[in-house]
Symmetry: C2
Subunit: 304 residues, 2 copies
């Protein structure tokens, strides 16, 4: 069991209709690693932080058995910082501030001890950097990749090169539409699967997620969380639950990919209950499995 | 087994990105009755048509064993006519023409032979007329009701009176939000259930549907139809499949309400494959059960 996670490590200042959280731990690699750590060990983190990184956050990673050999500390500047404000419906947000800081020059270097990993999880970073990671590792069982509109519109050629090397692409519905040029998600998926990924997951926010494999389609609803407190990191948390379960079970069959999608949904549904990664700090196995069963109950169609 | 259906019978002229269909059979009562007829008999239709109603459409209803004693023929005018054009994404449409004609003075009169019906299905008509139907019948096992934004904004008080008498309300997500004043659908459902209906179904178009019962929540995805040819009547078709299955099975347990929601989704997924009610004319039981099983496969979460 081993999962390699590459992405951003950041501080976020968040504002939602329910309150404010200044300078809390954020970034895709943080959410993915913390979440995956509930399922598997070691999670190997590759990222960069600056001279302002809080030792308490280092301790948090260590307490979850996250391997930090690949976490670079760049003392020439500060950690990536983002500030955002969510609107009342939680589906839209305004970016108030973005300071790339040391992340601007991020060059992912994979320690030797990481080079043989079962699962490689490429968080949402520049597609060329994602390829640079893959150049350095032994072919893993699965390469799982996230991306975003920013790269789809701004670095399409580079992204297309990366997609050729990806086994599982996890994006949201608007990204799938933009990447494929198709409005209907089934058509979008057909087209994206010709770009490289054999497996595609399309996240639809409050409407759940779709899993397209080589043989079929699976639809999982979102858990009906009544009070979405803060959606920050929900997509990365989904990714962490997905890869964490695959690594724990060492099974990439279609049925088990479904389970991984549900564990991703479970973890995301917990994540949004509190600010930032707060809820991911002290979940229990019992809570995780209880919600998995709640998803089964929510979706269960009785036979006729 | 007996289902009473009240609603509009109409002619629709439809235009979608795939073509045009002038003056084809439409109206909520037509879609509900035709669909329910696949599951139960007799379906008792109450509605009104004008002097231009096509004998072939009478024959279509009769061929499906639909009881037409309650279908009024008003020779003083023409049948309700609607013309609409769908946009490329099929989620929005423009009304090009509406001629209420004889439907404007519609006064639902329930024949004696209809007065004891197991299920009463109130299609989307003026809420006062819906109550007038209930005044004339013996208390059925379930009163199932549809409505629309037009009545929610324009006849709220009357609609609230009707809702007190309704067991199952079936509306779409924007209607649920408008009726409750709540954006989040779980909160919206909680509020609507205080208005009368013990059971609420919220249709979400391409995102499926939610069933709220007294004890739980069920989420069904939409079937991933790649080519939505014409969405006209899909909501009424859902209603017809829902009530038809309940009447056939005579079981209103939570598990069977789930099955009814899936049969509603099955029938709606077929309806959109061709213009108007065309696809509802010659479905087979085999096709219906095959798609039910496809829904089970689509939603199936394997245990861990």
């Amino acid at each position: 069991m081993s999962t390699l996670v590459v992405g951003s490590v950041a501080y976020d200042s968040l504002e939602t209709p329910f309150g404010k959280a200044p300078r809390i731990l954020g970034g895709s690699a943080s959410y993915i690693s913390l979440t995956a750590s509930y399922f598997t060990s070691p999670v190997r983190l590759v990222g960069v932080v600056g001279n302002d990184f809080n030792p308490e956050d280092i301790e948090l990673f260590k307490s979850k058995n996250i391997d930090l050999e690949g976490l670079q500390v760049d003392n020439s500047g500060k950690t990536f910082f983002w500030a955002g404000k969510y609107h009342f419906d939680m589906n839209s947000r305004d970016t108030l501030d973005t300071q790339l800081n040391v992340f601007e020059k991020f060059n992912p270097i994979i320690p030797n001890s990481y080079k043989e990993s079962d699962f490689v999880c490429l968080g949402n970073i520049e597609p060329g950097l994602q390829r640079k990671v893959l150049d350095q590792v032994k072919r893993p069982r699965l390469v799982i990749c996230d991306t975003m509109n920013f790269w789809i519109s701004g670095a399409k050629d580079s992204l297309m090169e990366t997609l050729k090397l990806v086994d599982v692409l996890i994006i949201n519905d608007s990204e799938a539409r933009e990447l494929s040029g198709e409005h209907h998600l089934v058509r979008a998926a057909d087209k994206i699967k010709t770009m490289g990924p054999k497996i595609l997951i399309i996240k639809k926010g409050e409407h759940g997620a779709l899993l397209f494999t080589e043989t079929g389609l699976f639809s999982v609803p979102a858990f009906p969380v009544e009070d979405i407190f803060d959606p920050t990191g929900a997509g990365d948390t989904f990714l962490g639950g997905f890869v964490g379960w695959l690594d724990r079970s060492q099974d990439i069959s279609d049925a088990n990919l479904r389970r991984a999608v549900v564990f991703g949904s479970v973890m995301a549904s917990y994540c949004v209950e509190k600010f930032g990664p707060e809820r991911l700090k002290n979940l229990t196995d019992e809570e995780i499995y209880k919600r998995y069963n709640a998803f089964m109950e929510l979706s269960n169609i009785p036979a006729v």
